[in-house]
């Protein structure tokens, strides 16, 4: 009933016992730390409303803030590029790298970079790419795509990481502890940081009134990615705009607490233009690539609220489906609830329509989202479109049609349900149905309680003949 590709990815994920353990370890910690951080923040609800309002204000005035940002960034010495599509964005980045004669680039983790397929584009252009975020380094060694937007290597257990480092690092040492593993990665990456010609980063905020780009990390790798190389390229989605630094800080508070439960990131850096005369370091050329890639279409197609997303990952950490199947099963750049909304935008609904359907609409994602995105409503919106476009399988359409025929006709519905009860009870043994035609989805892994002998309505009629 589901798209085979999705079903196959789900089966693979569910068959992997390490995966569930790895997911629970990381998301469990994230959930409890976030809960503690929110509990310790009496004004959380007000901050959340402010965050939502800031983002909605920017979305409603996007053209104004984009042009303001471009003007101020240009005045600070940056070169601003506009990319309508992923392909355009990659072409611009590769073009800059080639013009700079770059043989190798360092990259600080950026989900936008993944979204536009930048790793592939660099590889195709023959440019060596060094991922500097520890988790990105791990998955680069493993050849995996990210499985979480904050912890891309969430799916790897500590033991699997040690094995990877042993196989790939020049000087891995004993790797007996996490600290030793980090030290090995540091030895490996430091020399690459210094050798790179171009550093590529994303942006957490684009600050319109100063033209600065704000990045936040906990490892300091963004700073080492963007400072030593001659050229720094920022790729950022246009929804990252904020009016001012103060607005960025309001959102940062929400972002960090929701992502990790910390109060602030270890490193919060504002990149404003290239190296100026007298600066000790910094790139000599600073490029900012502003990427649309479907975002203005989201505005037009009823998904404006999704442009609030801070990429904090809280909705993933709290999603019961994500906790079972992990990120790769979603098959897109972005997993979890936010991914189930975004992937149909990026990859088209036909072929991804399982994502908005594989959800119980339990609402926990919306409850924890720091900018109050109504994720279940947006997912239901995709379902409506999928229904309208006839993407739902025939068996779903057929059963809903038959059901519709009856529920809209109470006078027929009553005898029909009475008959259905009689039939179902034929399959019951001591109150339970263990197998029944058409009920395999239910009965394969759980029993079905037998329905009542008589419907409530029929019993009521006997007890209250006037009713």
């Amino acid at each position: 009933m589901t798209q085979p590709a999705f079903a196959a990815r789900v089966d693979r994920a569910l068959a992997d016992p390490d995966l569930k353990r790895a997911i629970e370890r990381t998301t469990g910690t994230a959930r409890s730390k976030r809960a503690a951080a929110v509990a310790a923040w009496p004004d959380f609800a007000a901050a959340r409303e402010l965050g939502r309002d800031i983002k909605d204000h920017v979305t409603a005035n996007l053209d104004h803030y984009l042009l303001t940002f471009e003007r101020n960034a240009t005045a600070a010495g940056a070169i601003v590029h506009w990319a309508r599509t992923a392909q355009e964005a990659c072409d611009i980045v590769v073009g800059i790298c080639k013009a700079a004669g770059a043989a190798s680039v360092t990259r600080a983790k950026s989900m936008l970079g993944e979204e536009i397929g930048l790793p592939h584009a660099l590889a195709d252009a023959g440019i060596e790419r060094v991922e500097t975020d520890l988790a990105e380094h791990i998955i680069q060694l493993a050849g995996d795509p990210p499985s979480h937007i904050v912890w891309p290597a969430l799916h790897k257990t500590r033991e699997q990481v040690a094995a990877l480092f042993r196989a790939h690092h020049h000087d891995p040492g004993a790797l007996a502890t996490v600290a030793a593993m980090v030290a090995s990665a540091r030895r490996e990456l430091r020399r690459r940081f210094m050798a790179a010609d171009v550093g590529i980063s994303g942006a957490n905020f684009l600050i319109a009134d100063t033209g600065a780009v704000c990045t936040v990390t906990n490892e300091g790798n963004a700073e080492l990615t963007t400072t030593p190389p001659r050229v720094h390229i920022v790729t950022a989605g246009i929804e990252k705009l904020v009016p001012s630094t103060a607005h960025a800080m309001s959102l940062l508070r929400l972002l960090v607490r929701s992502a990790t439960g910390a109060e602030v990131t270890q490193y919060t850096t504002f990149h404003c233009g290239p190296r100026r005369p007298g600066d000790a370091d910094g790139p000599t050329a600073f490029h900012i690539v502003l990427v649309d890639n479907g975002r203005s279409r989201m505005l037009a197609e009823g998904l404006a609220e999704m442009l609030r997303c801070l990429r904090c990952g809280a909705c993933l950490n709290h999603c019961v489906v994500f906790r079972q199947i992990g990120g790769h099963a979603y098959g897109g750049t972005y997993p979890g609830p936010m991914g189930a909304v975004l992937t149909p935008v990026l990859d088209g609904l036909a072929g991804t329509q399982d994502l908005p359907h594989a959800c119980t609409l339990n609402g926990q994602c919306q409850e924890v989202c720091p900018v109050a995105i109504p994720l279940p409503t947006l997912l239901r919106g995709w379902r409506e479109r999928s229904w309208r476009e006839g993407l739902e399988p025939g068996v779903v359409r057929g059963s809903l049609f038959a059901w519709r025929f009856l529920v809209l006709r109470p006078a027929l519905y009553r005898p029909a349900t009475a008959l259905a009860l009689r039939v179902m009870r034929l399959f019951a043994r001591r109150g339970w149905i263990a197998r029944m035609p058409l009920a395999g989805g239910w009965t394969r892994h759980r029993d079905l309680p037998s329905p009542a002998r008589q419907t409530f309505m029929a019993q009521l009629r006997q007890r209250r003949p006037s009713a």
């Binding site: 809903l400 892994h445 002998r453």
Partner: protein, 260 residues
């Protein structure tokens, strides 16, 4: 809270699952509502709140059903539903089905504002704080998602359960985590749903309770069915049966001798 209205006319929205699976819940709701001073009627023109269509994206069918609900329930002081998810459908979603029709939208909004989940209605509207019931056992209460997040049903059932003689409440880990039912989700994505409900039954077992309670029959059928497949001794009941003191009239969900 303003003083409860003397004897309001309440339309009971039975829900299709209670109608088919667990009529006792309907009778328990009637008893509780009458004890709370309400005059209860059950319109015969009701079938389903429309969630199967609404959550599959079939807006047209959910609108057609909603129009019938407006006709059948428009005249009552209150509409009460022994289910958080069907209650949420009436209270939170019905008006949005008519965003393009101001007339129907106003009627739907008026109905939504008068629609309540059963236990929340008893506590929040009727000011009920104790029930006349006894239950010898340790129960654990699962917070069904829509009741919890759309309607704020959380303390009300616990408060009333606290007044049931002999009953002890043992909270499970993560009582607010979805059980994996999700309406059509559980049959469309059975593999994922099964893992979810298995995590839930693990938490239920670890609570040490002998009885699982919840306010939504869909979730209960899912969890009870999984408990049964795991041969767990934990029994499952709708919270209304316990609050109405009707547990001696009907065995737990799925147990034989269902007289209802």
């Amino acid at each position: 809270m303003s003083a409860p209205q003397a004897r309001p006319r309440v339309g009971l929205f039975v829900t299709c699952l209670v109608d088919l699976y667990r009529p006792t819940v309907g009778f328990a709701a009637i008893r509780l509502l009458e004890q709370a001073g309400c005059q209860v009627e059950v319109p015969r023109a009701q079938t389903c709140c429309g969630q199967p269509a609404y959550n599959t994206g079939d807006r047209a069918t959910s609108r057609d059903l909603a129009r019938g609900i407006l006709d059948a329930f428009g005249g009552f002081d209150y509409v009460v539903v022994p289910s958080g998810s069907c209650g949420g459908m009436l209270r939170e979603h019905l008006p949005h089905l008519f965003d393009d029709d101001p007339n129907l939208k106003a009627r739907a909004a008026a109905l939504a504002a008068r629609s309540y989940e059963l236990v929340a209605f008893l506590v929040d509207v009727r000011g009920v704080s104790v029930v006349d019931a006894a239950y010898a056992g340790t129960v654990t209460y699962h917070d069904s998602c829509a009741g919890l997040r759309e309607l704020g049903v959380k303390d009300q059932p616990r408060r009333l359960l606290g007044s049931v003689a002999g009953l002890r409440l043992a909270e499970m880990a993560e009582p607010e985590t979805c059980c994996g039912f999700g309406g059509t989700f559980c049959v469309k994505y059975p593999a994922i749903s099964t893992r979810m409900v298995a995590d839930k039954t693990r938490d239920i077992a670890a609570s040490g309770a002998d009885t699982l309670l919840a306010g939504d029959l869909g979730c209960l059928l899912n969890m009870a069915g999984r408990l049964k497949r795991e041969a767990s001794p934990v029994r499952s009941r709708h919270v209304a049966e316990v609050l109405a003191g009707m547990t001696d009239q009907v065995p737990p969900i799925g147990e034989a001798r269902e007289r209802g």
